[in-house]
Amino acid sequence: MDFLRDPFGFVINWYVGLLSQFGLPPEVVEVIASLTGALVLATGAMLFVVFLIWYERKLIGRIQDRFGPNRVGPWGIFQPIADMLKIFTKEYITPDGAEKFTYNLAPILAVAAVLLLWSVLPLSVTVFGTDLNVGFLFLIAVGALGEVSYILAGWSSNNKYALLGALRLVAQLISYEVPLVLSALVPVMLAGTLSVVGLVQAQEIWFIVTAPAAALIFFIASIAEIGRSPFDLVEAESELVAGYNIEYSGLKFGMFYVAEFLHAFTVSMIFAVVFLGGWRGPAAEQVPILGFVYLMLKTFVVYFVTILFRGTLPRFRIDQMMNLNWKVLTPLSLALVMVMAVVGGLTRDLPLFWQAAAYLAVNIILLVIADQLIRLFQRKKPKQALAIRGGHGALTTSTKYGTGE
């Protein structure tokens, strides 16, 4: 019965018990258990990507009125496996003049940065890698580690396209890091902890209900962080060919591909954990396996929305993207943190329901104000553009009709 309620936790307990029966010192048992856990989790995540690629290709195909993969296996589900086998036997082409060490390090780092995120995500009540007391900060910091791999890849390829693509990507990623981090302050404020497990436990009411504006900003910034459409300027097939990974071939390119898909899914899972209550749901505490099912359902809903965005929205221009970040999302998230802090301080003595209602009202008012302000500025835009062309401001004169690079 125990096994049926919580198979993962049961297996973990059984395994740790088995190890300690051999009479090893507890430190060694801990190291071996951690190593096994890390191996299983990382391998599982890597193999899961195969399914994710199929799922995404199938959905995008349906959106574009195609069938998607449908030849290999039932519904084409073995297509990514066939692709993987093919890419395994492809030649590595290293361009002349590439920096060998950083060139080879970049794809490894790209995957490692994403895999490392899985070490702190709670999958159910009993199953999580580890409960760091700074888990949420760790998620944000390690998520940003991917930027290093992109700049390494772009810089070491000895290719102008790759360099431009990498610089653009890093400019985009570090810009969207600002609203991401600022909106991440809101759930931390509401929960009063940085531990990811604690964040899930604090969601008596889902944070997307108490702070929809923060959830919206976090979601948009997350999509920008994974470089998906409409923020896929990095890829920009028509201008930059493919961005930072242009000179990579064989499995080294495959690693970037895997990292991208896994990052998209991981970001969806982070959103589900932080704003949609993670494994929370009816009877999830008594039957932990249900919590895992709930988390997967929520994650797939979020992931489905990102794919929907990818399949339907056209690409931004780079200046529009930067404007959206610095002139809309950043001021909005700053205002949000301030207003939430004051409102929370004033309604502290009220019951939980009324406090949540106050938060919700403030969020919606803020979103409406932001929407109205955007419309107002949109109407004034021609005048502003004229002022810029006249050389108003410090950085305007040098590349008046430049290409944007």
Partner: protein, 118 residues
């Protein structure tokens, strides 16, 4: 507490080794037939002119500076957010004033044209 970080360290090693080993194995399986044309830098079929590590616009640097300000500020704000539930109202207002100073900084950067992309 050390146990947590031990796990993170082991996980980091596994996460680094797994793609590295996969790439290494694929390197053994894959054919190796380099030739000068294949190894040349890709640029739409024509040869690359000048060095590939070209000069980059100042704009990237300005954005990096603005990012640095806000990221450092976020690091300072996280402890405030964690302790938020126990803070008296004046401490909350102090945090708000700190944010307001940053808003002034953002407005300054905006007015100076540092947030425009050309």
């Amino acid at each position: 507490m050390l146990g947590n970080w031990l796990y993170i360290g082991i996980f980091a090693l596994v996460a680094l080794l797994m793609p590295a080993v996969t790439i290494f194995i694929a390197g053994i399986l894959a054919p190796k037939k380099p030739d000068p044309i294949k190894n040349s830098t890709y640029e739409c079929g024509i040869e690359t002119v000048g060095p590939s590590w070209t000069q980059i616009k100042i704009q990237y640097y300005v954005f990096a500076l603005v990012f640095l300000i806000f990221d450092v500020e976020a690091v300072l704000l996280f402890p405030w957010a964690v302790a938020y539930n126990f803070l008296p109202i004046y401490a909350i207002l102090e945090g708000v004033i700190f944010l307001l100073i940053l808003v002034v900084g953002l407005i300054y950067a905006w007015r100076k044209g540092a947030l425009e992309w050309f």
